[in-house]
């Protein structure tokens, strides 16, 4: 069975009377770097809260590598690595201690956790900071640590909610390069939420989300053909233009 890395079918979510997601359907192909593109308030974080089971899915279905999030939540969560928009590291603990805690939450023992921590910190070039308190790291370093931590239990889908928010240009480029490299080295799929079109590469897939609705999805080239735009930024602006759509 070759189910997509993530599949959303007719997902809707409301906060009271306000509809944050409206009949959202898309899929993230295996081994793909898929960008969830939307302005602030488009519904990206709501979607992340549903995928990570912080909120209950009330309408529609979500499946991670074929495991339905409601019927088989454990199997789905085992395959999912998450980097949230807000920092989720324990600032008073060291980098290694944060990793050990995360490993324990996934039932991974100390010996295996230590080996994997070393491997991952090497990959994000922070091996020499393992014993340091997270508080002492820079914003970019913390992000790298969070990404490495999300990979500790070897997930097959990594979802990141605006991971470059608040980072300088250099750190942003580093993070992007790192995650793109992971697709190749760890053989996984990525869902990358952002509002920045310059983070999109020509080979990526894009889901354009606006006011809770998927306006278009597919490969960058498809979206360019569909809109007749010369670049993805223009394509996105055309896609969210209410009057043009009307």
């Amino acid at each position: 069975m070759n189910a997509p890395a993530l599949e959303a079918r007719n997902v809707s979510h409301c906060y009271g009377a306000r509809k944050a997601l409206d009949d959202v359907s898309f899929s993230v192909g295996r081994g793909k770097f898929c960008v969830l593109l939307g302005l602030n308030g488009a519904g990206k974080s709501t979607l992340f809260s549903l995928v990570t089971r912080l909120f209950a899915l009330r309408q529609g279905s979500l499946a991670v590598l074929g495991c339905d999030l409601q019927r088989e939540p454990r199997k789905a969560l085992e395959q999912l690595g998450v980097v949230f928009q807000s920092r989720t590291l324990d600032l008073d603990l060291s980098v290694a201690q944060n990793f050990y805690y995360h490993a324990a939450l996934h039932g991974i023992g100390k010996a295996r956790a230590n080996a994997r921590t070393e491997e991952l910190l090497n990959a994000v070039q922070l091996a020499d900071r393992a014993g340091e308190k997270v508080r002492n790291l820079s914003g970019g370093q913390m992000r790298r640590v969070e990404i490495a931590r999300a990979l500790l239990h070897k997930p097959r889908l990594l979802v990141l909610d605006e991971p470059t928010v608040g980072l300088d240009i250099g750190a942003r480029a580093d993070i992007l390069k790192l995650v793109r490299g992971l697709i190749a080295s760890e053989g996984m799929s990525v869902l990358w939420a952002t509002h920045l079109t310059d983070e999109i590469a020509g080979t990526d897939d894009v889901i354009a989300l606006h006011k809770g609705k998927v306006r278009a999805s597919g490969a960058v080239t498809t979206l360019l053909e569909q809109t007749g735009a010369s670049d993805i930024k223009q394509a996105f602006m055309l896609l969210i233009d209410e009057e043009a759509l009307a």
């Binding site: 906060y15 974080s45 995360h102 490993a103 324990a104 939450l105 039932g107």
Partner: protein
Amino acid sequence: MSYAAYAICLKGIIWREGLRFLHQRERFVSALVRPLVWLFIFAAGFRQVLGISIIPPYETYILYEVYITPGLLAMIQLFNGMQSSLSMVYDREMGNMRVLLLSPFPRWFLLLGKLIAGTLVSVLQCYAYLLIAYFWEIEPPPLGYLTVLPALLLVGLMLGSLGMLLSSLIKQLENFAGVMNFVIFPMFFASSALYPLWRVREGSPWLYYVCQVNPFTHAVELIRFALYTQFNPLAFAVVFGCTAVFMLGALVAYDPSRGLMALRGAPGAAA
């Protein structure tokens, strides 16, 4: 998931709570200073005002300091339970709660693990207090130090679950002041922690009834009797029942398919 994996997960949660506690030395000091202030100052001042007649489990006349010690132990646990609730609100804002809930282990297990970890920390605080109190001539029977342990564990779980339930209702950190005013103070003062209930009854019959239905009264009495190697069945039944109810409430509140989190949404995720 194997049993070994469950054990690793539980160990990890307890280890993190312990580590956080060690890192926050001021939290430990303030958790100890609070009851000691009551013991050294309040109890010393009140010694002459309040006469305590012989009431079970005591077999002789006792000093007021001896009387309020179980109440102060319960107070340590009350504050600890509420503090972990505060830390859960804080954790949720900081995102640590999200990390916990992303674990593939069942949610009830994760929350129970957090409760057990918080309870163990509060029990440590209680023993540190008992050690200092010993030098203040509060000397329960030696066996009492052992028999009080299950009582402290159960009371810790009850107050921790109450805190967890409240944490699911509190949306922001600022609202914690409300918890102080509407939960901690009324629970503590309308109980048998500071004065025996027969004394309360003489002063105000209605307050006596309030104290009777306050689960904290029963928590104090369970600890009081256990510290003197006795078992109080009524107190046990109430504390046990309340623990079950609060825990169930907390688990439901944090369940994504039914809970309040789903209805209301968590901070930072409304966009």
